[in-house]
Amino acid sequence: MGIAEEAHNVRVIGSGQQTIVLAHGFGTDQSVWKHLVPHLVDDYRVILYDNMGAGTTNPDYFDFQRYTTLEGYACDVLAILDELQVQSCIYVGHSVSAMIGLIASISRPDLFSKILTISASPRYVNEPDYYGGFEETELIELFEAMKSNYKAWCDGFAPLCVGGDMESVAVQEFSRTLFNMRPDIALSVAQTIFYSDVRPLLRHVTVPCHIIQSVKDLAVPVVVSEYLHQNLRGDSIVEVMSTDGHLPQLSSPEVVVPLLLRHIRYNIAA
């Protein structure tokens, strides 16, 4: 087993002509796909892995320098595909992993036949001409909570401040998963996410994209999916689901799984 495979708890299951990569978002791990996987293994070769920094990975491997940008994660994805000698794959990315997939596809478009993004956002912070869902002040609150958590953790006290305690509902929604990580890693990751801005890169993405989004997602407003659709260079299609929450594949699998299967099986009509 290769280094990247081992470090990311890579699992390859199922068999088929096509390969599907399932990439989870922050605060979760590959188990977030548990409802989807059984529907895929008969027809596809499915690659599952844990993002570096996820609770299931060795925290010692989390390189604080490497993961200050999403490019660090994108390199990981490419390394995994390389080790598994994947020629081409359908990439299903949730939350930040959707952006990671898009970034990876810019340097190696040949590896991605198409990308499905679920609850994805290129930029979380509001700007005069962009609505990402989060105000600067809300982020300050989030970072303060993270810092006090981190400080408590360094001092040997219990980290007690978790996402649900914060005032902003949007921050609550997002931080719920973020606080699932080791406090120092969570702080680093939170900063990486909120300081990242993938918008300038979207016009370099040529791979077809299926943009899938909950109608009510406090971390990602629906307008963001429209923004992606407008700014991606390649073909793209938007489907807004009647689901609620940032993890629809977990909270509403009965809606999400058939929809994902449809997007996996069918390509965007020419």
Partner: protein
């Protein structure tokens, strides 16, 4: 030997200078250094066989063994004609659980009985290795009925090294309570021969000083005809060691000297292996007599044997290490494990496949009890009827009774049938000042005929509640009652009362406890549903009625036979050694404490606080050692609780509390995406665990709350952070999953030895993908745990 009054046996050729004890006070005791060194080279070898991470409890002994320890063991006993062999062990000074007041009685000395009794005595504590014991078939002590002599008395004393002795004396002074420990010299045996104890001290190093008591009454001389070896000290010692069931005590005994080690190894029949699957090749081979091996608790928990890197090699190593194996227990969820075992252990007689994820028991339909019986009694079995000499029926109408034709019938009982329905009756008093027997069935019918009955007062009725196991009957099934008053009932025993009380699903805790006041100083184990209802105050009853249990209304459906469709499981359990006298008026005394209470079990609805417990009456419980808290409910329907914490801190009122089961496994919530205004499970986890660090817990079993939709029971960040504050914790079982870095928090607990993640619930995680803890993560954590220095 036939006229023996007492025997003193020395296990060492040179007894120590025991007289040095004489005349010395405990404070200025001075002991020479000339005691015999009992360091066993063989023991070292055998202990070296343990690989790292293996069998935690054994490793502790290894640590101890590295310090010079010496022990002189002497046994003295005198004989008399007692009939029973009792032994029990108590916790030693290291505040370690040896076993839960293990008591065993070996009334005779046949092998099978010894074994079965011992197995019975083993507490169902799967955490530590369980052992069974086996007597040497060649030996056996005289049977009790062959004896006619006076009591045997013996004292066994271990004399430690100078510093050990000092430590012992200090410990004895500080910790020992009952003064049962006597250091008895050989010269004093005569004087003390009327004592009834033999006392052991396993002194293995200063810190691991442990003690075992054997209260035993050996069968007296002369021995009956039999093998001459039956009465030799070795045989007795072998039997004694075989009777020790607690693993840690056995390990201590094995460290005493070479002979003890040999005897211990020869009598150890069962071993339960812990430690990591990948370290199994280092399994010790010093237990040749083990016939029963339990592999189901290996780490990573819930991984089958076949998931080892080389399963065949592991199986081979195990077979080599345990050549006498006849019984095997292992975890299995797939065919490959069974195939592996089948190929390697062809001689195994008993194989137990463990699948931890038991589907919850579906409660039997409520009509299975009396109704079934009723149906049966209505069946016409002509041949049966011909042979009947006794007939006990209930629920038949008078014309049906007339139809019974049993020519050989001698005894006939028929319960009164309420043919007349009183659907509007709410209050009924029946006190006919005349004894009415077997009235239980009548009250069941009463319940069906008078659905609005709310208040019932009974006098001189017997058999009102005679539950058989969990099948409730009689007045216990009158679920509409709000008030029940019983007087002059002759046969209401503990179980009957438990049956009644267990049906009072909404009985406020305060009133329950009030009702128990007359017997509260006798209760050892208590379960109480924490239903706080301060509005309902118990009215003082001054007319001598012992119990007045107020039940709240419960709108259950009733079937045709008047049985409630819902039957509650029996929730109340009391120690049955206590006596119950409902006719005594127990309300006279003002200050009552729960002096005997050792085990408290609580059920509490989600969102409710623990804090009213003291107010409700459980304020002074000086001897509670173990507590089990079951939190149940759906927090998805609840808003954020007003209080920040559940209230575990209040348990500091119980100074001896050292063991806790905190079961939030049936608390349902959102693991990931809680709607706005609601708390997700991490916050609920925090709510329940705040304050746990204030308790001086040694053992904790924690069931995290769950999200059924995603089948997730994961230790959250705040939960991990709060658990790490339990500084004295030695044993922690989390019945769920946890991320690696959360587990790493736990390394801050310096005393922690034994941690396992157990997904022993239903449904099981479907596959490896759905668990937060990968096997590698688990191994890294265990490695970190085992790397630490262990203080004792």
């Amino acid at each position: 030997m036939e006229s023996l009054d007492h025997v003193f046996v020395e296990f060492r050729p040179q007894p120590p200078q025991l007289h040095r004890y004489q005349g010395e006070t405990e404070e200025d005791g001075c002991y020479g250094d000339d005691f015999i060194h009992a360091h066993s080279p063989q023991l070292d070898e055998s202990l070296d066989a343990y690989g790292c991470g293996y069998a935690h409890e054994l490793r502790e002994q290894k640590e101890v063994d590295s310090s010079p320890s010496s022990l002189v063991v002497q046994i003295g006993y005198s004989c008399a004609g007692a009939r029973d062999f009792d032994c029990f062990s108590e916790r030693g000074m290291v505040n370690e659980m040896l076993c839960d007041k293990l008591e065993m009685k070996l009334s005779t000395y046949s092998i099978s009985e010894t074994k079965s009794e011992t197995n019975e005595a083993i507490d169902g504590d799967a955490a530590y290795s369980e052992i069974g014991n086996r007597s040497n078939p060649a030996i056996g002590l005289p049977r009790a009925q062959d004896l006619s002599c006076e009591k045997i008395v013996g004292v066994l004393v271990a004399l430690p090294q100078k510093e050990v002795a000092h430590s012992f004396i200090k410990w004895r002074k500080e910790n020992y309570i009952n003064g049962k420990v006597d250091l008895v010299l050989p010269d004093e045996i005569n004087e003390k021969s009327n004592k009834t104890k033999i006392e052991f001290f396993f002194t293995v190093g200063v810190l691991a000083l442990r003690q075992l008591y054997f209260d035993f009454h050996l069968p007296a001389w002369p021995p009956p005809p039999g093998p001459p070896s039956a009465t030799s000290p070795d045989v007795i010692l072998s039997n004694i060691i075989a009777a020790v069931s607690d693993v840690r005590s056995r390990n201590s005994a094995a460290l005493a000297c070479r002979k003890w080690c040999l005897l211990e190894r020869a009598t150890r029949a069962a071993v339960s292996l812990r430690g990591n699957l990948r370290d199994l090749f280092t399994v010790p081979n010093c237990f040749p007599s083990v016939s029963s091996l339990d592999l189901s608790l290996l780490s990573p928990w819930g991984h089958p044997l076949s998931s080892a890197s080389d399963p065949a090699l592991i199986a081979h190593v195990l077979r080599h290490a345990f050549p006498s194996l006849s019984s095997l227990t292992f975890y299995a969820r797939n065919l490959s494990t069974i195939q592996l075992v089948a190929s390697q252990w062809r001689t195994a007689e008993h194989v137990k496949l463990v699948r931890w994820h038991q589907r919850p028991q579906i409660s039997p339909p409520s009509t299975a009890g009396p109704t079934t019986f009723r149906r049966l009694s209505r069946q016409a079995y002509p041949s049966l009827a011909l042979n009947l000499t006794r007939l006990d029926i209930e629920g038949l109408k008078s014309d049906e009774i007339k139809a019974i034709t049993c020519p050989n019938l001698i005894e006939f009982k028929a319960a009164r049938r309420f043919d007349l329905s009183l659907p509007l009756l709410e209050e009924l008093g029946l006190d006919i000042c005349n004894n009415v027997r077997d009235s239980g069935a009548a009250f069941e019918v009463l319940n069906s005929r008078c659905p609005k009955l709310r208040s019932l007062k009974l006098g001189f009725f017997h058999g009102i509640s005679m539950p058989i196991e969990s099948k409730l009957d009689g007045v216990a099934l009158c679920q509409g009652l709000k008030s029940l008053s019983i007087r002059n009932v002759g046969d209401l025993d503990d179980m009957g009362l438990i049956g009644i009380v267990s049906c009072c699903s909404n009985l406020p805790a305060r009133q329950c406890l009030k009702a128990l006041e007359p017997i509260q100083d006798r209760i050892k184990r208590l379960h109480i549903d924490c239903i706080w209802d301060s509005a309902q105050e118990l009215e003082d009853d001054s007319d001598g009625v012992g119990f007045d249990l107020n039940c709240l209304d419960q709108d259950n459906g009733f079937d045709d036979d008047g049985m409630s469709k819902e039957r509650k499981r029996c929730k109340y359990s009391y120690d049955l050694n206590m006596e119950l006298d409902v006719n005594s008026n127990g309300y006279g005394n003002n200050v009552r404490t729960w002096d005997k209470l050792e085990y408290l079990s609580l059920w509490i609805a989600v969102g409710q606080l623990l804090t009213p417990l003291v107010e409700a009456g459980l304020d002074h419980c000086p001897n509670i050692e173990e507590i089990r808290i079951k939190v149940e409910g759906d927090c998805r329907e609840m808003s954020r609780p007003r209080e920040r914490e559940f209230g575990l801190s209040m348990l500091v009122n119980y100074p001896k509390l050292w063991k806790m089961h905190l079961d939030c496994g049936d608390t349902i919530g959102y693991a990931h995406t809680a709607p706005s205004g609601q708390m997700d499970l991490s916050l609920w986890g925090r709510f329940y665990l705040i304050g746990i660090g204030h308790l001086n817990l040694t053992e904790l079993d924690y069931w995290p709350p769950q999200d059924r939709d995603v089948n997730q029971r994961s230790l959250s960040l705040p939960a991990a952070g709060l658990l790490q504050e339990c500084f004295g914790l030695r044993k922690l079982f989390i019945h769920g999953t946890a991320h690696e870095h959360f587990m790493m928090f736990l390394l801050r607990i310096t005393e922690l030895r034994d941690v396992q993640l157990r997904e022993d619930y239903y449904p099981a995680p479907e596959n490896d993908m759905s668990t937060e803890m990968r096997a590698d993560s688990c191994s890294r954590f265990e490695a970190a745990l085992n790397r630490r220095r262990i203080s004792d």
